[in-house]
């Protein structure tokens, strides 16, 4: 029925089905044959069909990671001069085309030819458990240079005629900690790409080469048209929002991601000017300034998919996005900045964008989800002296309250893909005792629609030199924001021996060396609330109380619902208390810590900081930022931006390498 030369638009779904089936077959092949648990359990992999120009035009919805549905392979593809039929190419270098975004991610692709003509590429990526470098698993916030983060492979040919490049394999073998795993996963990637190539050939046979050539741009255009249609329902305007990582490095100061979202017709501009300079830690995002880089547009994809679940996801979906990513900032770090833990700032940038979109679509989007999920690992020794190293699961926060429902408990929003590990499996495999695993009462931000409660895990270790790592720790200081009168969620926490005299607040530390008998308690951040809590029906508050999502104190304090110790509702006292709640509905409720912080670090001061730092050499920015933060600690009475410029002048006076003065903007 399909004609050979043009595509009947009504039949485009048939081709979409075939393309998606191809990437699904690739994904299942990868999952089935991979070795590492990153692929099998965490599903940290992707499979794609990619145009000759590098645009991803198909990926499997719901299999693998959610981040790369619109990945632009172009810059890396173009670093290969000449493609050979039957050959496979790969890269893991974040600074060669910005396709791989940290060294553990190995992206591989294979060209598909038809009668000597390049038709498209099949591509996939896998997060390798370890690629060498300074620390096991290659990732730590403390690293400051990409060279510490493991072996990096620039785009190159690695496989042809059924044979690997043996030299490359020997180099990998020499540089990583568990070479059999990397080797196994690499083989799985080869199998995946060969499956993909065979499937594309079947499609060419079934529909003809002209249709397969034409359908690629048709599918991209289709996604673009759908996305533009959705964007056109978003009110035009300029929406500014900023969110923070608690620390920009070990024990550091906050890291701000600021974005101005401009909606105009069917176009979206995301201007990240005002975001922090690139950091002396591994939280940086290597985007190369690509205005549609997949790491930057995830939140856009999530928002548009939420507004219309039928949206086709490919590079066309974000064609109407233009992101401004100033060079030398966390949003566009330059080499040799470390990037291993970029996922933490990626999450913050998603939350910043969600805050901007929430202003545009208050009736369709939720308050802030918990947004930060700590990934817990334990290294310890069992009774026989055997070393055990195991992931014991994520501890995440609840979803944000939404215009119609409470937030999801324990996870949600932009962290919906995480799976946990059962308590029973953890206790069998890892010599720890889990004392408590569940939800934290009162942690969800109060609201007409309550934020989802956060998770809690408490466990005890028994051997000396046990090490607990918690990657992606965040939100211990800056809470998940509530909207339209809804309150902020409870912040996350991390304690050693929380209930005795040895109690130690671990804050955002991501590596803890433990003694035998130490108890670790970690909680995630609660989701923000939606709407004025006084509007939450008393019956819903009582249900939450009976369910244990809130306490009796929480009911009284957060909702003005007074219940006696015996569980009886005090109607009169409740009416009185609720009346006092008033009808005021703040647009955003950020929580005490952020309010206090922003009393010092106002928008005006941040503007001044941005103005100063952008004029400095990139290598100086992180240093100067920290010195200015040391100098500026008072709340703004008068002066405002002046204090920042003064602080800079004092620093410049000590360092002749710096420009002596920086003119205030405008």
């Amino acid at each position: 029925m399909l004609q050979k030369t043009t595509i009947n638009r009504a039949m485009l779904q048939v081709l979409a089905d075939y393309c998606s089936a191809t990437t699904e077959a690739m994904a299942h092949t990868l999952m089935r044959t991979a070795h590492s648990s990153f692929v099998k359990e965490t599903e940290d992999f992707t499979t794609q069909l990619v145009t000759v120009q590098g645009e991803t035009f198909a990926s499997p919805k719901g299999l693998g990671a959610t981040w790369f549905t619109n990945l632009d392979y172009g810059p890396a593809l173009r670093m290969i001069d000449h493609y050979e039929e039957g050959a496979i190419y790969l890269t893991s270098d974040p600074y060669s085309g910005h396709v791989a975004t940290h060294a553990p991610d190995v992206h591989a692709w294979k060209p598909v030819f038809h009668n000597g003509e390049l038709v498209c590429f099949v591509a996939c990526h896998v997060h390798n458990t370890d690629v060498g470098g300074a620390v096991p698993a290659s990732l730590s916030r403390s690293l400051v240079e990409v060279h510490q983060e493991g072996i990096r492979i620039p785009p190159m040919k690695v496989w042809q005629n059924g044979e690997f490049d043996q030299n490359l394999l020997r180099i990998i073998d020499t540089n990583v900690r568990m070479p059999e795993q990397n080797w196994g996963d690499l083989n799985a990637q080869i199998a995946c790409l060969n499956t993909g190539e065979a499937k594309v050939r079947e499609m060419i046979k079934r529909f003809g080469i002209d249709v397969i050539m034409a359908c690629q741009s048709e599918l991209l255009d289709y996604a673009e048209a759908q996305a533009r249609k959705i964007v056109s329902t978003i009110p035009d305007g300029e929406y500014f929002f900023a969110d923070y990582a608690d620390e920009d490095s070990d024990g550091g100061v906050p890291c701000r991601v600021a974005v101005t979202l401009t909606v105009k017709g069917t176009e979206l501009t995301l201007d990240f000017t005002g975001s922090d300079p690139q950091l002396g830690s591994s939280l940086n995002m290597p985007t190369g300034g690509n205005p549609r880089h997949a790491l930057v547009t995830i939140a856009v994809v999530l928002v548009l998919s939420t507004l219309d679940p039928h949206l086709v996801l490919n590079a066309g979906t974000t064609r109407m996005v233009h992101a401004i990513l100033p060079e030398g900032t966390v949003m566009n770090a330059v080499a040799p900045a470390a990037v291993g833990m970029r996922s933490l700032v990626v999450a913050v940038s998603q939350l910043a964008l969600l805050g901007a979109f929430q202003q545009a679509l208050p009736d369709r989007l939720a308050a802030s989800p918990g947004g930060a999920a700590s990934l817990l690992n334990v290294k310890t020794i069992d009774r026989s002296g055997r070393q055990i190293m195991a992931s014991i699961g994520p501890v995440s926060g609840g979803g944000g309250g939404s215009p119609q429902r409470d937030g999801v408990e324990g996870s949600g929003g932009n962290r919906s893909f995480l799976r946990n590990t059962p308590v029973e499996i953890n206790e069998v495999e890892v010599p720890i005792h889990i004392e408590r695993y569940g939800l934290v009462p009162d942690s969800g931000g109060a609201g007409k629609y309550r934020g989802g409660t956060a998770m809690l895990m408490e466990f005890q270790v028994f051997s000396p030199n046990s090490v607990v790592t918690a990657r992606n720790r965040n939100r211990t200081r800056f809470a998940s924001w509530g909207v339209l009168g809804g309150k902020a969620g409870m912040t996350s926490s991390f304690f050693r021996n929380p209930d005795d005299a040895r109690r130690q607040d671990l804050g955002n530390i991501d590596v803890v060396r433990c003694n035998p008998g130490d108890v670790i308690r970690i909680t995630g951040p609660g989701g923000g609330g939606y709407g004025n809590p006084a509007e939450r029906p008393v019956q819903s508050v009582l249900s939450d109380l009976h369910a244990g999502f809130i306490s009796r104190n929480g009911a009284a304090h957060d909702y003005g619902v007074i219940v006696s110790a015996e569980g009886n509702l005090d109607v009169a006292a409740t009416e009185l208390a609720r009346a006092r709640f008033g009808i005021e509905s703040k647009r955003f409720e950020f929580g005490k810590d952020r309010e206090k912080y922003e009393a010092v670090w106002t928008g005006e001061r941040y503007d001044a900081l941005t103005t100063i730092l952008l004029t400095l050499p990139i290598t100086w920015r992180f240093y100067v930022k920290h010195r200015i933060f040391e100098a500026v600690t008072d709340e703004v009475g008068s002066g405002g931006a002046r204090a920042v410029f003064d602080a800079y002048s004092a620093i410049a006076a000590r360092h002749p390498e710096l420009p002596a003065s920086v003119p205030p903007a405008n």
């Binding site: 029925m1 638009r9 009504a10 039949m11 485009l12 779904q13 048939v14 089905d17 075939y18 998606s20 089936a21 699904e24 077959a25 299942h28 089935r32 044959t33 070795h35 648990s37 099998k40 359990e41 919805k61 719901g62 959610t66 083989n187 046979k205 048209a225 759908q226 999530l302 998919s305 679940p309 996801l313 969600l354 939720a366 995440s396 999801v408 408990e409 324990g410 996870s411 949600g412 929003g413 919906s416 893909f417 995480l418 799976r419 059962p422 308590v423 029973e424 499996i425 206790e427 069998v428 495999e429 005792h433 004392e435 408590r436 695993y437 569940g438 009976h546 369910a547 244990g548 999502f549």
Partner: protein, 688 residues
């Protein structure tokens, strides 16, 4: 002279398959289902068997049936109000599930609401260690408090699911005894008794689903037993299980998790039986109903098994025939999006109002309507004269889309069919790669009301070499119950390294499981033939978190042959994942035993033999590949073994319509199954 009866109770029709024990002949019947009065359809069927075949109720020596009452109770959330008792500090197990949300790209995605709300969950003061030893004894006072609170809150049943109960059930049993003392008569279910597997969420939710449906199922099975007794049927009622076996209705009343997928499993067992008779090595069954299509893989006549099968949004973690449901059936609605792209579903007209062409009030164009417009269905009576196809209504419904597609009604109808087929292609492709199956050596077996009209088209897209349409696609599920063996699964979590030192423990557990199996087969099921025992274990490499169920050679188990047991696992790993680490240490998580009692199997009847090409009923015109062409219409009952004919063709029978596309050839085999193959197109392909 005994008669064995298998019944499948579907939404609209109830099918009977009747096996004569002496002659081994098989007969079929169909009556309307009576959801309003369970048992009435059985009575009607047995009466009809008397009228038609002279079978009296007292001749019925064996009676088994498949039912969807369990699935429906969960999907419609019509179960009972339950309380859940967990280990203290772990009471959020149902709220958290396995954390992951169903729709990863939807910021507002939610987990399905638990069947027990959080306010109905209480923690008990107790704690076991991972090895099953007691860390904190069970505090009876905590049980008393929880029980009183649960009763006050209106609980109609109590589920007790404590940490590590798969290892040591004693705390659960003690709590159950205490509850029985405090609240005599209230049903109590413990997670280890329901299905003792490691992983607290999976074990808990499985027990909860069982408890949730139990009173409904017990009531239903009780009425069925009474109905049979009232009719004078001496046979004890049995029912098909999710695991492809059969058990007594009496066991089903309490062991509900074993029968929830009874209805779905029956069809696949029947398909497996036919696949075996047809000597199909690998076969994919495609059961297309009104709102969905169920796909299952059958290897050497055996359905494939899995854990975690879906019941609506919920998963149940007992061994079940693995069936993947695709949200696309004959009633799925076609629509055109804003960009002009034609889409199918997820909206479905179901059986009410149904496709527009059924004339029951449906207005929207469905897949079935597209086939009607193309002239493929509606040329003969459907469904025992129950449904007349109104082609004009179908055309009117499809015409609502032509403005958007810019095509004629016929072109749009054919486009709907193509999109429907490609949707199934996409889902089935994912499935075959997950199973590691090569479609080019796999046959397609379509059944269900809408299966045979789509089967060849899907097989062609999948490059499957053959489509086999069973003689009576509608009766396959009834046949499935009839041919299923008595079968029960037994499991014990052991969590040991596979090593010489652990062999005595492994043998001890298998001895106990075997004794339990024998007891079940002899005492509970009253079976006196020889029991068939299969040993297996969920095994893994140490450090991995996913296990593979590995069948173990019985001889190696009893000889304590560690090397042979390891080899069984390495081989299984290699088969599933394409590689094995033959030097790596191996762990056994669960030991399993299947006890089966073989039941007599019917000989599928041979039909009369003919030759040449059958005489068509008439010539009709169908819209195929963009034009009206003449197509031969055959009556299924006129076809004789050995006859063959070419597509395009339409074959009508009481319960379904088979469509044979162009360039396909049909051969009628000795049993009357249609064996449809595509003409080889290798020569053409090589030129591409």
């Amino acid at each position: 002279m005994g008669q064995r009866i298998g019944v499948d109770i579907g939404g609209s029709f109830t099918d009977f398959a009747i096996l004569d024990e002496d002659t081994r002949t098989l007969r079929a019947l169909k009556v309307f289902s009576r959801p309003d009065e369970p048992g009435a359809e059985i009575a009607a069927g047995i009466r009809l068997a008397g009228e038609r075949y002279g079978i009296s109720p007292d001749q019925v020596t064996y009676f088994t049936h498949g039912t969807t009452v369990g699935v429906n109770t969960v999907i419609q959330r019509k179960g009972v109000k339950l309380a859940l008792f967990t280990t203290e500090n772990f009471s959020d197990v149902l709220e958290l599930g396995r954390l992951k949300l169903p729709a990863m790209f939807d910021l507002l995605s939610r987990r399905p609401d638990p069947l027990v709300t959080r306010d109905m969950v209480w923690g008990l003061s107790e704690r076991l260690r991972a090895d099953g030893s007691v860390m904190r004894g069970l505090d009876p006072e905590s049980v008393a408090i929880a029980t009183r609170a649960a009763l006050a809150a209106g609980a109609e049943g109590i589920v007790i699911a404590l940490l590590h109960a798969y290892r040591n059930a004693e705390h659960e049993l003690e709590a159950k005894r205490l509850v029985a003392g405090l609240a005599p008569g209230i049903p109590v279910f413990t997670s280890a008794e329901v299905w003792p597997i490691i992983r607290e969420y999976e074990r808990t939710t499985t027990a909860v689903i069982g408890g949730y449906v139990q009173p409904r199922i017990a009531h239903y099975l009780g009425s069925l037993q009474n109905a049979l007794k009232g009719l004078g049927v001496p046979a004890e009622a049995r029912l098909t299980k999710s695991n492809g076996g059969v058990m007594s209705a009496e066991q089903g009343k309490t062991d509900c998790v074993q029968m929830i997928l009874s209805g779905t499993a029956s069809g696949v067992i029947g398909a497996g039986f036919v696949a075996k008779a047809c000597e199909l090595r690998e076969c994919m069954s495609l059961d297309v109903g009104g709102t969905s299509a169920d796909v299952a893989l059958i290897v050497d006549g055996e359905p494939q098994y899995g854990m975690g099968e879906y019941i609506g949004e919920h998963q149940i973690h007992v061994p079940s025939i693995s069936v993947t449901s695709i949200g696309e059936g004959g009633g799925s609605v076609a629509w055109v999006d804003e960009y002009g792209v034609l889409k199918i579903g997820p909206e479905s007209a179901g059986s009410t109002p149904g496709p527009a062409c059924y004339g029951r009030g449906g207005q929207k164009p469905t897949i079935t309507d597209a086939f009607a417009v193309c002239g493929i269905i509606g040329q003969a009576d459907l469904g025992y004269n129950a449904v007349k196809v109104d082609v004009e209504a179908a055309r009117r419904a499809v015409a609502t889309l032509t403005g958007r597609t810019g095509q004629t009604i016929e072109e749009t109808a054919e486009a709907i069919i193509k999109v429907a087929v490609s949707g199934m292609y996409a889902k089935i492709t994912g499935l075959v790669t997950r199973f590691g199956v090569d479609p080019r050596t796999t046959a397609m077996m379509p059944f269900g009301g809408a299966g045979p009209m789509m089967g060849c088209l899907v097989a062609e897209e999948m490059s499957m070499p053959e489509t086999v349409v069973p003689t009576t696609p509608g009766v396959l599920a009834a046949l499935g119950g009839l041919v299923a063996d008595l079968k029960n699964d037994f499991i014990r979590t052991v969590f040991v390294d596979l090593a010489k030192s652990e062999i005595p423990k492994i043998q001890q557990v298998f001895t106990e499981l075997k004794a339990a199996g024998e007891n079940w087969l002899r005492d509970d099921q009253g079976y006196d033939g020889e029991g068939q025992v299969t040993y297996s274990a969920d095994m893994r490499y140490r450090g991995q978190s996913h296990d593979i169920e590995t069948v173990l050679p019985g001889a190696a188990v009893w000889a304590g042959d560690v090397a042979a047991l390891e080899k069984a696992f390495h081989d299984a790993h290699e088969k599933v994942y394409g590689h094995a680490q033959r030097e790596a240490p191996v762990q056994m998580v669960n030991l399993r035993l299947v006890m089966a009692g073989r039941t007599p199997k019917p000989e599928l009847p041979h039909i009369d033999t003919g030759s040449g090409t059958p005489i068509p009923l008439k010539e009709i015109r169908c819209w195929i590949s963009g034009r009206w062409i003449p197509v031969q219409l055959y009556a299924r009952k006129d076809l004789l073994a050995g006859q063959s004919f070419d597509g395009p063709a339409v074959i009508a029978q009481d319960d379904t319509t088979t469509f044979v596309p162009e360039h396909h050839t049909v051969r009628v085999d000795a049993f009357g199954h249609l064996r449809i193959k595509k003409e080889s197109s290798d020569a053409a392909e090589d030129n591409n």
